[in-house]
C-alpha cells in the first residue's frame, strides 16, 4: 500500500504530496526528486513499481515477500536496490526483532518499502514536512538520511542489552538460578543475531562510501562513510557485549560449582562432628555386664566433657582449613 508520495519540484524548497497518477509524468521530466514510501507492499504495488520504474521483478518480489532477507545491495543499470535491517527490541519479551527496509535509489527518485511502520521513515517524513531539507540535497542524501536514522535507532537497543548484561552479572554473583542461565543464553542469542546482521550491513555501506556506485555522488559518499563509522562502532560494542555475556556464562558455571563446594563442606563438617560423638554415645549404650566406666560416679559427665572437647577441636580444625 503506497503510504505517501513526495515530490520536490526543481527550484522549490518544500516537497509536495502528489497523486499516484501524476508520478509517471513527473518522472518523465527527469528533474526534481520523487520519494515513494510503501508499507506492507502488495502485488499490485509491485506491478506498479515494475511498470513505472522498470525495476527487476526479483527485486520487487523481495519487497512483497514476508521472508527474511539478509542485508544486501544489488546494482542495476540506473538504480540500486538496497536491503538494510533496523532493530526492534522489546525488553519485556527479551527478543531482538529485526525489521527490513528495502530501498530503491535512482538518480531522481527513492522508493522505500517495509512491512511494518518504521521510525526512521516517519521521522524523516516529519523533518521533510518542516523544512524540506532531507529532499533538497538529492536522492543519494535522502537515502542517506533514512538509513542514518535507521542506524541511529540501533544504539538504544545496545544500551538496553548492556543494562541487561550488568543486571544478569550481579544476579549471577548473588544467587545464580536456572532462570539466570536462561537469561544469559537468551541474551547471547540476541547479541549473536545482532552481530550477524551488522557485519553484512557494514560491508554494504562501505561499498557505497567507497564510491562503487555511480548513483551516489562524491559529496554524499562522505556521509555514507559516517554511517559506516557508526556501524563499526556498533559492531565494536556488540563484540564487547558478547564478551560480557560469555564471562557471565563462565561465572554462572563457576558460581554453581562454588556453591556446591560450600554445600559439601557443610555436609562434611556435620558428618565429621556428629558421627564420632554418636559412636561415643553408642559405646556407652552397650549392654556389657563388665563396663567399668558405667559405674564411675562422674562417668556420664566425663563423657559429656569429652564430647564437647572433640566437637570443639574439630570445629577449630575445620575453621583452620577454611571450611567454616
Amino acid at each position: 500500500m503506497i503510504k505517501s508520495t513526495f515530490y520536490l519540484a526543481p527550484g522549490t524548497k518544500l516537497p509536495q504530496q502528489v497523486e499516484i497518477d501524476q508520478v509517471s509524468s513527473l518522472l518523465a521530466t527527469g528533474k526534481g526528486l520523487l520519494w515513494i514510501d510503501i508499507e506492507d507492499t502488495t502485488s499490485e504495488d509491485a506491478q506498479f513499481l515494475i511498470d513505472l520504474f522498470r525495476f527487476h521483478p526479483l527485486a520487487v518480489a523481495d519487497c512483497v515477500s514476508k521472508n527474511i532477507h539478509p542485508p544486501k545491495i544489488d546494482q542495476f543499470e540506473d538504480h540500486l536496490f538496497i536491503i538494510v535491517h533496523g532493530i526492534n527490541y522489546h525488553v519485556e519479551t527479551d527478543v531482538v526483532e529485526t525489521t527490513e527496509l528495502s530501498l530503491f535509489l535512482g538518480k531522481n527518485y527513492v522508493v522505500t518499502s517495509h512491512d511494518i511502520p518504521m521510525r526512521s521513515v516517519t521521522s524523516t517524513i516529519e523533518r521533510l514536512q518542516v523544512d524540506g531539507r532531507p529532499m533538497r540535497r538529492g536522492a543519494d542524501m535522502l537515502a542517506h538520511d533514512i538509513i542514518d536514522a535507521l542506524v541511529d535507532n540501533i544504539m538504544p537497543t545496545i544500551d538496553e542489552l548492556d543494562d541487561k548484561c550488568t543486571s544478569i552479572e550481579s544476579e549471577v554473583v548473588e544467587h545464580p538460578q536456572r532462570e539466570t542461565l536462561r537469561s544469559i543464553t537468551q541474551l547471547k542469542r540476541s547479541i549473536l543475531a545482532l552481530n550477524r546482521v551488522m557485519s553484512p550491513q557494514r560491508e554494504i555501506v562501505n561499498t557505497i562510501a567507497r564510491g562503487d556506485y555511480a548513483v551516489v555522488g562524491k559529496k554524499a559518499q562522505i556521509y555514507y562513510r559516517n554511517i559506516y563509522d557508526h556501524l563499526v562502532r556498533i559492531e565494536t560494542l556488540v563484540q564487547g557485549l558478547r564478551d560480557l555475556a560469555d564471562s557471565a556464562l563462565a561465572m554462572h558455571l563457576s558460581s554453581v560449582s562454588n556453591r556446591m563446594n560450600e554445600v559439601m563442606k557443610v555436609l562434611s563438617v556435620v558428618a565429621a562432628v556428629f558421627l564420632p560423638l554418636t559412636l561415643l554415645a553408642g559405646i556407652y549404650g552397650m549392654n556389657f555386664v563388665n563396663m567399668p566406666e558405667l559405674q564411675w560416679r562422674y562417668g556420664y559427665f566425663v563423657v559429656w566433657g569429652v564430647m564437647v572437647l572433640v566437637a570443639l577441636s574439630l570445629m577449630v580444625f575445620f575453621r583452620k582449613r577454611k571450611w567454616l
Copy 2:
C-alpha cells in the same frame, strides 16, 4: 537410466518428449533446447553422454559413482559441470541426508543426473508439461529453475530443525536426561553437516551470478544472484541454529550441575537435621549408673522438646540460606 528427454523446437511453445536416437540429430542443428534427465546413472548412460556430448570422462564418472562429491563447478570448453546438494531430512531418524544433483549446462542443452528421484527435478518437469515456460527462456534459465527448486526445498528442513531445537530446549529446562544430550549432539551434527554443504554451494552460485561463465547469459545472472541471496539467508539461519544448539548444550550441562546441587542440598539438610538428634537420643541411651536427667519426671518430654526445637531452628537456618 535415462528417465526423460525433452526437446523444445525453435519457435514452438511446448517441449516434446523425444526418443534417444533422435537426440543426436536434434543436437546437430544447434538450435532449440534439449533436456535429458538421468536417474541412477549406469556406465552405459555414461558412454552415451561421452559419445554424444563429448563430456569429459572424469565428470561423467562423478555422475556414475555413488560416492559423495562436495558441491563444485567445472568449466569445460563449451559447457559447465555443476554438482549441487539438496537436503533430505527425515524427522523420524533425525538424520540430515544429502542428495547430489549433477548438472551439465551447455548452450542448448541441460543434462541432469541423480541417484534417487529428486523433488526439484520432478516439479520442474511438471511445470514444463503444463506450459513449457521453464524451457522457453533458454538452457541457463532451465538450469536455474532446477537449482532454484532444489534450494527452495531446503527451507522446510531448516524449519523442522528449528522446531526440534525449541523442543529440546524446553526439555533441557524441565527434565534433562541422557537422551537429551544425544538429541543435542545429533542436532548439532545435522546443523554442521548442513553448514558444510551450504557454504561451497553459495560460492559456486556466486561465481555463476558474477558472470564468470560465458554459458550463462546476462539476464540469467540476476536470477542466479537471487539463488545466491537465498543461500546466504539459509546460511544465516543455519548459523542461528548453531547458536541455539550450542546454548542448549551449555544449558544442559549447567542444568545437570544445578540438579546435583539440589540433591546435595537435600542430603546435607537431612544429615544436618538428623545427626544431632540421633546423637541426643544416643546420649540418653547410655547406661551410666549416674545420669540425673534420666530420673527427672519430665526428662523424656524435655528431650522431645529440645529435639523439635533443634530441628525447627535448623530448618529456619537452611531456609534462610535458600537450601530448602
Copy 3:
C-alpha cells in the same frame, strides 16, 4: 637404493626395465619417458640424481633426510619437486602414520623417492608391467597416477576412523570409563593430524590443476583437478569426523556428570530414609525412667508401623521427584 628404472621408448607400448648406466644416454635423447623409483634414498643416490638430472641439492637433501617435511611444491627451471603425504593407519595401535613421497617431475622423466615401500608406487608398477598404460600418457600423467593412488589409499583410513568414532560413542553412552576418554583424545589427535596434512596437500594439487606449472599439460590438469576434488571430499569427511569426536567428548563429560548425579541421588535417598528411622529407634532406646510409650502393650508394633509408613512415604516422595 634405486629399486627400479623403467623406460618407455618412443613408439613402443611396454616400458622396459633398464640398467642405471644406460639412463644417462637415454635421457640425453630427450625422448621417451623415464621413471626411477628410489626407496630409502642414500647419499650416493642423492649424488647420482644431482649429477644426472642437475636437481637442486636442497631438494635432494629433503629426500635423503628422515625428518618430516610438510607437503610442498617447488618449481625449478625445467622440473617440479613435490612432497605429498600418504596415510598408514594401524588400527591396533590407534596411530595415524604419515608416509612421505617425494617426486621430481620433468618433461620426460619422473623420479620418486620414499623411505618405506608405498602401496601407491607398487600398484602403479604392477599396472605398468601389465599394459604400460600409466607411462604411455606422458610424465605428468604418470605422476598423476601415483599421486591419485596415494590419495585413494587415504579413504579406507577415514572409514576406519569413522567406525572407531561410532563404537566410542556407544561406549560413552553405555559405560564411560577412563579408557574411553583416552580413546577419544587419541582419535581426535589422529583426526587433527590428518587435517593438518590434507589442507596443504589440497592447495598443492590445486596449483597444479590451475595450470601454474608448464611441466603439466592442459589435458593432465583436468585429472589433477579430479585429485583436488577427492582431497576436498576427504577434508569434508575429516571435518565431519572432528565434529563426531568433539561431540563424543562432550557426551563423555556430560555422561560422567549424569552418573555422579545418579550416585548422589541414591546416597541422598538412603540417608533421607534411614536417618529418621534410626532417630526413632534411638529415641525409644533412651533410658528415661518415665517414658509412657515403652509401657504400652503394642508400643513396639506401633513404632514398626510408623517406621514403615515413614519409609514408604519418603519413597513415594522421591519417586515423584524422579530420584528413584
Copy 4:
C-alpha cells in the same frame, strides 16, 4: 575550548603562542607550522574550525560528540582526520578506560582535540617549549610525536595487567574464591577491550607508514613504521595476556573441582570409618535376653580392641588409596 595555539615562524627555532585572531592570517601565508590544541571541544570551536580550515562538518562533529568513536583515518583533499585511542588504566577500579585523540593533519598545521587532558599532548607541549624540536621537523613529524607519546603511554598499562595476572594466578592456586573469578573475568574483559582498540589502530598507522597519504612525507613514514612496530609488539603482549587470563580461568575451574574432591574424600573417610564402628556399638546395645558376648568378662574391652583395629586398618587402606 581552545587551550593553546603554537606557531613556528619559518626560519625560527622556537614556536610562539599566538592569539586566536592571528591564526587566520598566519595560515594564509602557507608557511611556518601551526598547532591548535582543543580540550572538550564546544560547538563554537567546531564552527571556528570549519570556518578557518574548511574541515568537513562530520569530522568536526566527531570531535564535539562525547560518543566513543573507534580508531579511524579519513582522507580529505588537503588534510587527514585521524582518531586514535590512548589508554587510561586505574588499578583501583580495575577498569581500562579509553581516551580518544582526534587529530587533523594538514601540510602546515596540526589540530588536536580531546575530551580530557591527555599526557601525550601535555608532554609534547613541554618538550616544545624547551627547544621547539617537535615542531621544527614539519607537521607530519609533530603528529608523529604526539601519537608516539600516546602509544608509549600504553606500555605501563600492559605491565600492570601483567602483574595483576600473576597475582591472580597465585591466588587461584592458593585459595580460589568467588572474588577471584570476578577478577579473572574483569581482567579478561580489560584485555579484550585493549585488543579491540589496538588492531584497528595498528592498521591505521600501517596505512600512514605505507605512504598512502601525500600529507605524510617519505622521511616521516619510517617513523610511523616505528609506531606500527610498537603497536605490533603491544598486540603480541596483549595476546600473551589473553592466554594467561584463559589459563587462569581454566586453573580456577579445575582448582574448585580439586577442592571439592578433597572435601568429598574427607567426608567419605569419616563415614567409612565411623559408620561400621557405630553399627558395632549398636549391636551390643541391643536388648536380647540371650547375647553371650555381653556376659564375657572382657567382652567390652574386646569390642574396643576390634573398633581400634577396624579404624586403623581403614585408615591404612585409605592412605594407600591416597585419600588422606
Copy 5:
C-alpha cells in the same frame, strides 16, 4: 660492544679479523665481504653504525633497546634490517625464552647484533675460521647461514616440549594433581609463545624467498625457501603440540571428575550398607516392655544372620551396578 669483525678480501679464501678503524676504508672499496658482530649493543656502537653504514637511527635504536621486538623486516635503500627470534628453553624452569637477533644485510656486509651470546652466531664463526665457506658465497648466503643455524636450534626445544607433553599425559592418567594442572598451563603457554613468534618469522622468510628484496640474489632465494620450509614444519609440529596440550587439559578435567565419581560411589556404598544395619541394631536396642523377639532364644543370632544377608545382597547389588 663489537665482538668480532671479519673481512674476506676479494679473491682470497679465508676471512681475516680486522681492526675497527680499517673497516671504513675496506667498505669504501665496495668489494669483498665484511661481517661485524656486536653483542650487547651500546649507544657508542649505535653511533658507529650510523656514521659508517648510514643505517637509520630507528633501526639502530631497536638493536640498543632491551625491549622485545617482534620479528620484522624493514627495507632501506641499499640494505635490509631483519629481526628474527631464536629460542632458549630451560627445562628446569619450564620457560621458553626468546632471544632476538638483529641483522643488517647489505650488498657486501652483514652486521649482527644480539643481547646475549647466541649459538647460531658462534657456530657460524667457528665454521668461518675453519674454511671460510660461509663468507665465500656472498652477504646474502652469510645471512642465510646465520638464520638457518638459528632456526635449526629451535628443533631440540620442540622435542623437549614433546617429551614433556607425553610425561604430563601419563601423569594425568595415573594420578592427576594440582601441580599437573600447573604444568599443563605452563606448557600450553610456552607453546602459544612459540606459535606467536614462529608465524611472523615464517612470513618474513617467505618474502625473502619470494625475491621481494634486491639484496638477496636468485641463488640464495632457494636457500631461504629451505628455511621457510623448516619454519612451516616447526609450525606444524607446534600445532600438534597444542593439540596434545589441549587434550591433556581435557583429560585432566575429566580425570578429576572420574575420581570424584569413584569417591562418591564408595561413600554411597558405605552409607547404603551400614545405615540399614545400624537401624536394625537400633530397633532391638529399644526399651519397649513388650518386644517378643528379644525373648527368643536365638533372636540375637537371627539378627546377625539378617545383617550379614542384607550386607551381602547390597554388595552384590552394587557390584552389578559396577559401583564396586
